[in-house]
Symmetry: C2
Subunit: 520 residues, 2 copies
């Protein structure tokens, strides 16, 4: 290679932290070195940088199509919710009151010390909440829109920012402000609402598996983990590489509680006034944290091709001499050729990275960002009709250069769609195998569970237990026992095997299976 | 037609207000009857309904592609801006301080009266502003990202909600919360920054003309109308059908003021520390208000095909009898056939409206929403291979039914792409002719201007004046004189003819031409 030599110490090639040494520090480094996001200087809020936001745009595009396909209409509802709206549903407000950003003034004035302060004359009569979720304000709209059974089901969705004042934040996983979609639907009866709740859950499951290449368990959350005000909450749960669970999407059957609070009533075919049954369901930028912790390796992120903003990076090995023109022309030809192809059901996305800079530095930047295929092309390649391709999911860490496979341009182009599809499938397979290998079954007592999680394994994974599904105080006791072990109940898989034996918590006959794990 | 007859009085077919009788009331009715948006119950905030939001999604899609094409990267920055960030640029904070939503608390507690209140224990040390615009928080990020001349230009954009606490609000035109995109760029010098400012302006001009079919004047705003903190502000100005001007997009050259406040400095090629020159530019949901007031007629909205969520509505005349099945099959065939076609450079968007309901009611709903083509198909049409097509932009108001053109299905399909393109072009032509006919030139004294706008014409349109471009106090005097006539200076067109004669305000030699108008 002919670019100016540079002292290795000046280039930060790889990550400095390995997953097995400090998973949390590794995560932070991937987010930072992969140029996904950074601290904004505003408490708990992050700046999502182009590569991270590009992944979110891909998620939005594919999820939005699935939402529309289901007959749900996109709308937009206010950022602010009057306190009185929020207070109508008791469980709901109790669940969120501790973490809400409250707007109290609508003007600033000079504070007499050269600075500014909220103008006491411009205090709002009723404080406004920055939406942590929109059931209440959307419920108010639904109450206006629904009159007759003919208006049902009413199905809307919005892509929006929401705010929950989290005390301990972590980029993508838990931030004070985050981006999400929230679907809200109203139905004539429980059956129809439950059908929609499960449809949304299945949409999320399928999206996680097929688009994010992230295996998940779709199931019902226990009573204590329900959304505030919900009758039933379902989730998709993914296992991160440290064995912890990540709740990556939720779908709620809300019964008639929110309809009653907002007044969503309809005249039935028989002429009676009935309360609607509502649902809500959402996924957020948190999914990106899940992708990082599912697919990242010790070189950085590995982005599944379906959500990679660019699937193929063409890196010309520029020499800043006369040869560059021919090299760039050759790269541009390949780019145009690739743009005509499709993979995973969409046109291939290619970037020709012509920016100035050292080739090794640029290569490592794309490795850390996790672009699925990196195509390095030097002057000799251009002259001989060749390319060197790196498959990011199978990098051999010690010397990335030796991972590049030299091949003819024709050969590469002919195989690239299959290659992208294979990368997508391989990432899913690898993650599924890892997940399945870290689910432990057959523990039958709480002592066994305690012993299992007390072992000197940093990443014990999940345990599947049979239980009797206690409620109320009995459930509270179970939750406390698990909390002492830093464990939580994740969910009961929809496709779980029948329960067996006795409940380790109550000693009663088990009625279903649950996953128990440490969690984000 | 065979649908059940219904007493006309029971159906609210058309609008009840005409443009010439009460333009403001007409606007409100189009927004409401066209199911574009509605009041949310939250002060100054609207709910954008599916048809209105669908238009916004079309605007986003096309504008986003143009922004990306220019090499600008999408990111996401925090909703909240610490007061101290905002206060760094004096003009900027002064311009916005009077209309900012201020977050002061992060938790609610019981108020002892059965309600909730902000928890005095959870008062923020530093109040947070809900962003009215993001120069300051993006400037802080740019200061981190820019070190060397190699990092410039730095060009980012975000699609976001912003809040300006407006006292008098009107849907889409002026709401407390609105949706927009804001581009922010940093450059090495004035020339490069000014080039970008004008590139963004031209992008907006071209978008307004070619996509919204809305003729605009692209030009520079006078000093008194600059964005708070800007060195130069450019706008696109459109003429509404009441003759008023609507500022539909702005692009600002910010000089080095924001760079200095945020510390955006770079090392030049020569090794010196220099301040970057920044720009910002944005368009918002206000554009939708412009589309309504440019293209709406006394039957409701007319949506240009380029931004219509559905360009063709297929309306089967269902009879709720055995014939419906064959009719629906025929409609479905046509839908599939149309989906294979493209118009205006994109696949055609078709909706088969199978919902129950009276055919006339459904027809009028789509007329009011302004779908470009409505295709009514009855059982006899289906049997004979025919369709009846309504071209929304040329409706003859008294009896919409007679506007439908019966033709063979083949004939319609063969001509539909050209038809959509002709509708797009016709709307643009019609609006341009109307605009041009309402610009008055040749007034040379302030008395003439006063007389012109005092005449008993409700919609006098715009006046083009030659002026001497006064600044400071002299400009203030002009602004006051115009204000007394309820007039404002809109902008100086980039392609304006050379100035002529004397300035009607100062008596000095004119140096440029300005548009003077009433405005939204």
């Amino acid at each position: 290679m002919n670019q100016k030599t540079q002292k290795p110490a000046q280039i930060r090639h790889a990550l400095t932290v390995k997953r097995e040494d400090d998973f949390a520090a590794w995560y932070q480094q991937v987010v930072s070195e992969g140029e996904m996001a950074e601290e904004s200087g505003v408490r708990g809020c992050m700046v999502i940088k182009p590569w991270g936001y590009g992944i979110w745009e891909r998620i939005q595009k594919i999820m939005d199509a699935a939402i529309k396909e289901a007959g749900v209409d996109n709308c937009y509802f206010p950022l602010f919710i009057p306190l009185s709206y929020f207070a109508k549903e008791a469980d709901h407000v109790e669940g969120f009151a501790k973490e809400m950003a409250v707007v109290t003034h609508h003007r600033l004035i000079a504070d007499g010390k050269g600075g500014l302060m909220p103008d006491p004359e411009a205090r709002l009569e009723e404080p406004l909440i920055v939406r942590p979720t929109s059931e209440t304000v959307i419920g108010a709209a639904m109450a206006r829109w629904v009159q007759s059974w003919r208006d049902l089901p009413l199905m809307v969705n919005q892509w929006a920012n929401v705010v929950r004042w989290e005390m301990r934040t972590r980029m993508f996983l838990r931030t004070s402000e985050f981006l999400w979609q929230e679907g809200h639907t109203a139905h004539a009866d429980r059956d129809d609402a439950m059908k929609e709740t499960l449809r949304a859950l299945e949409m999320y499951r399928s999206f996680a598996e097929n688009v994010l290449a992230m295996p998940v368990v779709a199931g019902e959350k226990p009573e204590n983990e329900r959304f505030p005000g919900a009758v039933a909450t379902y989730s998709i749960e993914a296992m991160m590489q440290d064995g912890k669970a990540l709740q990556a999407g939720t779908s709620h059957y809300l019964g008639t509680g929110f309809a009653e609070a907002a007044g969503i009533r309809y005249q039935s075919k028989e002429g009676a006034q009935e309360l609607a049954h509502t649902t809500s369901w959402g996924v957020s930028t948190r999914m990106i944290g899940g992708v990082i912790m599912t697919h990242g390796d010790d070189d950085g992120l590995r982005v599944p091709p379906a959500i990679a903003p660019h699937q193929i990076i063409i890196l010309p090995m520029l020499r800043e001499d006369d040869g560059d023109e021919a090299l760039l022309a050759y790269c541009e030809e390949i780019r145009r050729e690739l743009l005509k192809l499709s993979a995973l059901g969409e046109p291939i996305r290619v970037l020709l990275d012509k920016r100035p800079g050292k080739a090794t530095q640029k290569r490592w930047a794309w490795v850390k960002k996790g672009a699925p295929i990196i195509l390095e092309i030097g002057g000799r390649d251009a002259a001989g009709g060749m390319v060197s391709a790196l498959r990011r999911d199978r990098i051999w860490r010690e010397d990335a250069k030796t991972n590049f496979v030299g091949q003819s341009r024709e050969e590469f182009v002919a195989g690239v769609a299959a290659l992208l599809e294979d990368i997508q499938a391989s990432l899913h397979r690898e993650a599924t195998e890892k997940r399945d290998a870290n689910i432990t079954r057959g523990l039958t007592t709480l002592d066994q569970v305690a012993e299992f999680f007390a072992e000197d394994k940093r990443y014990p994974g999940w345990v599947e237990l049979n239980w009797s599904r206690p409620t109320g105080d009995a459930l509270e006791k179970v939750v406390e026992q698990l909390k002492a072990l830093k464990l939580t109940i994740r969910n009961t898989a929809l496709d779980a095997a029948p329960a067996e034996g006795l409940c380790p918590f109550t000693g009663e006959a088990a009625v279903e299976r649950i996953y128990v794990a440490r969690a984000y």
